[in-house]
């Protein structure tokens, strides 16, 4: 356990030193404030829009950004150590492979969580201060849910990044794989579902379709933040299939957690089975 914390602390300090934490925080904060301010530009006015609009547009941008950031943060965590020779060295220290992976996840996870909470939290404070209609009472609920699901989404892609990092034998290949994973989950999956829907001329059973949507963590993230808002219908595209049928928040968050646990477990298993 001690060793896990030492590794986690090193990763976290690397994140501070490389300005990862600062960069992610600033990007998230600017994004949130910008969307809150200009969100109503489409309807011809500038100024703070309704919180629901802000959350919906924030979620549809974050769903692209957060997976990319998480993958970039962690894709080389194992393969990179391997290439610089420190992996073999660490394996001769009193530190297990699972311990190394756990330490990396804790460190990177803390970087993502801190910058997400700071960035979006800062934005929330600004909105409360500047916008008339926003109060702590009506902002706290949806914004907290948004932040929690954003952190979980980041962790999902961290877990996928470790899986990539354990499987790939070269850093360049890991980078390519990370990009591929991003494309598949963020773009291709939804396009394929859309294609399926159009190809079958809507005859596809609604239950099957909903099930397929729930398989993709990015769609689950969208569902968490977009259902329940009327603005969602316009912005959510595919999700309108769900109509007003809302899912239990517990189920959605559990799916995200499962998407963290299983890739992490797979990465640990493959890593332990590796020869070097």
């Amino acid at each position: 356990m001690r060793e896990i914390l030492i590794v986690a602390e090193k990763e976290f300090q690397d994140g501070l030193r490389n300005r990862w934490v600062l960069a992610i925080t600033v990007v998230f904060a600017l994004l949130a404030i910008g969307l809150a301010w200009f969100g109503a530009a489409a309807s011809g006015e500038v100024g703070f829009t309704r919180i629901s609009t802000t959350i919906v547009s924030l979620a549809s941008l974050a769903v692209f950004l957060i997976p990319l950031i998480a993958l970039m943060l962690a894709y080389d965590s194992i393969v990179g150590e391997d290439e610089q020779g420190t992996l073999l060295l660490l394996m001769t220290y009193p530190l297990s492979r699972t311990g190394l992976l756990a330490g990396k996840f804790l460190g990177h996870g803390a970087i993502l969580a801190l910058s997400t909470v700071l960035g979006f939290g800062l934005a929330a404070v600004m909105i409360i201060v500047l916008a008339e209609q926003a109060t702590i009472a009506n902002l706290a609920g949806p914004f907290s849910l948004f932040i929690i699901s954003a952190v979980l989404l980041g962790w999902v892609f961290l877990a996928l990044a470790y899986l990539i990092s354990v499987v790939a034998r070269e850093k360049a290949r890991a980078a390519g794989l990370a990009l591929l994973v991003w494309f598949v989950f963020v773009l291709v999956y939804d396009l394929a579902l859309l294609g399926l829907l159009v190809g079958t001329e809507g005859r596809l059973d609604g239950g099957v379709f909903r099930f397929l949507l729930l398989l993709n963590p990015t769609d689950v993230f969208r569902l968490v933040n977009m259902t329940g808002f009327e603005e969602a219908a316009a912005a959510s595209g595919l999700l309108s299939v769900f109509g007003d049928q809302s899912h239990s928040m517990g189920l959605l968050l559990s799916i995200l957690i499962a998407w963290i646990v299983f890739p992490l477990g797979a990465a640990a298993g493959l890593f332990a089975a590796r020869r070097t």
Partner: protein, 310 residues
């Protein structure tokens, strides 16, 4: 005394490659073992087995009386030091930060880590980023890392590669000091000249088999390689040649009257006596076969032997 490392008929196969074939070897406390072999001979595989990074396919590995992959591996690893062949460390950290990270993982006080940096001659560069380090400086950092916690067993894979001659002397000096303190060392090296005086025993690996192991003198005896003797003095050529006739000694005359003799090791004293009886002899140098030529001899044997099996 119980051996520090004991390999008992160890086999290791990787998909299709038979990397170690029935290797048995022991290392006594305070002993420095030079592990020689060409690329792919199984040196690194053997080190990884001792370190517990790899498990043997068959056979038994015992390190400090325990299985390096067993339940006691964690505390065992606190007593091991390892310098890998290629390690570039974390470019973005300073030398001090790197050594402190490893010292915390090994439960060594930070003060000792800083002292080690001084000891390997990196004190002046401790706060610089590793990115700016030369190959030699990285090697020194690696060595400092390996010495953390005063290990009882030290495994050094090519410790002198990339070092300038002064640094090589420092490394050998450090090995001598550790040997004096009772640390056991396994030293993998391609760089043979100069290493003889710092190792107690040599093990030569070839294609996963142990070709020869023993003290350097023992190996010399076993190999029976000829001695080279250089004698200086006027008019040595004629009389010495007649005196040594029939002893299997090859004599060549140099232009200046001195002679070079190539003699079987058993004839060493005989040749010397013959030379000392020459009134005009002014100087004699005796060159025993170097570790270099011993290695070449055994490696050649191993290769031809291997072919005979195949």
């Amino acid at each position: 005394m119980k051996p520090i490392v004991e390999l008992d008929r160890v086999e290791r196969r990787f998909n299709g490659v038979h990397a170690l074939k029935g290797l048995s070897l022991t290392l006594a406390p305070g002993e420095v073992l030079g592990l020689l072999g060409h690329n792919g001979a199984g040196k690194s595989t053997m080190m990884k087995l001792v370190l517990g990074v790899l498990a043997p396919t068959a056979g038994r590995v015992t390190v400090l009386g325990a299985d390096p992959r067993g339940t006691g591996a964690r505390s065992l690893r606190l007593q091991l030091g390892y310098l890998p062949e290629n390690v570039s460390f974390y470019d973005n950290l300073s030398g001090r930060e790197v050594i402190r990270y490893f010292s915390r993982l090994k439960r060594v006080p930070l003060r000792e880590a800083d002292q080690l940096l001084e000891r390997v001659g990196l004190g002046h560069a401790a706060n610089r980023r590793v990115r700016t380090y030369s190959k030699g400086m990285r090697q020194r950092l690696g060595l400092a890392q390996a010495l953390l916690g005063e290990p009882r067993l030290l495994l050094l894979d090519e410790p002198t590669v990339g070092l300038d001659p002064m640094a090589v002397r420092d490394v050998y000096g450090m090995i001598d000091a550790l040997r004096g303190k009772g640390t056991s060392v396994i030293l993998c090296s391609h760089v043979l000249p100069g290493v003889e005086r710092h190792i107690d025993r040599v093990a030569i690996l070839c294609e996963g088999r142990l070709l020869a192991s023993g003290t350097i003198d023992g190996l010399r005896e076993q190999a029976g390689l000829p001695l080279r003797i250089h004698a200086r003095g006027a008019g040595l050529n004629g009389t010495v040649r007649t005196r040594l006739n029939g002893h299997g000694v090859d004599i060549q005359a140099d232009g200046d009257g001195s002679i070079r003799l190539i003699a079987p090791p058993t004839e060493k004293l005989h040749v010397l006596r013959a030379l000392l009886e020459e009134p005009d002899l002014s100087d004699v140098t005796v060159e025993a076969p170097t570790l270099d030529s011993l290695y070449a001899y055994f490696d050649e044997c191993g290769r031809t032997g291997g072919e005979r099996h195949a």
